[in-house]
Symmetry: C2
DNA sequence: CTATTATATTCCTGACGAGTAATATGGCAA
DNA sequence: TTGCCATATTACTCGTCAGGAATATAATAG
């Protein structure tokens, strides 16, 4: 039941939680829930800076939360699966339990 | 479908992901998966400092990932529900997909 | 009461990471 | 080729947070 989860694996899991632990990245993820979008479209919709969006997308892509599709000079990103939906659903559900933690 | 998720709610969700985004806190959570433990027991099992463990437990408790039970001078913590299990299961499952992201 | 143990809190330092501006890279048009 | 547009990367500043030492609080024993 405790398959000797090494420190490296724990760190890897923590890294992935932190990847979803930034409001800017969650806003990007949220926009992508409506379907694939280019970097520029994400910049427009989120109001974040272009360099900022690009870097956040690299983080999300490194951990396979999003996939890339190149289309000429454009790069379209989309959610890589439904894991993000499941994770966000659980977290959002937790907001009900005592909405304002002391 | 997009119930105007405010910036505050996005920030609240991000905060909760970050609460699970620290290796030390994940190690504590992992120990608690075997059942309720006191602070001192967690200090022994994790090798973390006492102040450190106590502070991490406050974070986990603030977001209701763990509950407290006082027993004389001892304080026993336990996982507050199965959300943590579900979240960690999903995240651990993601480790398989390309174990070493560039 | 004092002493001891368990836990919590405060203060401080160091490191990581978000944000921005500037620059680099890549693709396409003329 | 040159020029322009979309995206990526670099360099930098600044805020936040983990960690540890010291201290504070709480509960129990004597």
């Amino acid at each position: 039941m405790k398959p000797t989860l090494t420190a490296e694996l724990v760190a890897a899991v923590a890294e992935r939680f932190r990847a979803l632990g930034e409001p800017a990245r969650l806003r990007i993820v949220r926009e992508l829930m409506g379907g694939e979008l280019s970097v520029g479209a994400l910049v427009d919709r989120t109001g974040l800076g272009q360099a900022n969006v690009s870097k956040h997308l690299q983080v999300l892509h490194r951990f396979r939360f999003v996939t890339r599709r190149k289309d000429g000079p454009y790069v379209h990103y989309r959610l890589a699966g439904d894991d993000v939906f499941k994770l966000c659903d659980i977290m959002c559900g937790r907001l009900d339990d005592s909405a304002s933690p002391s």
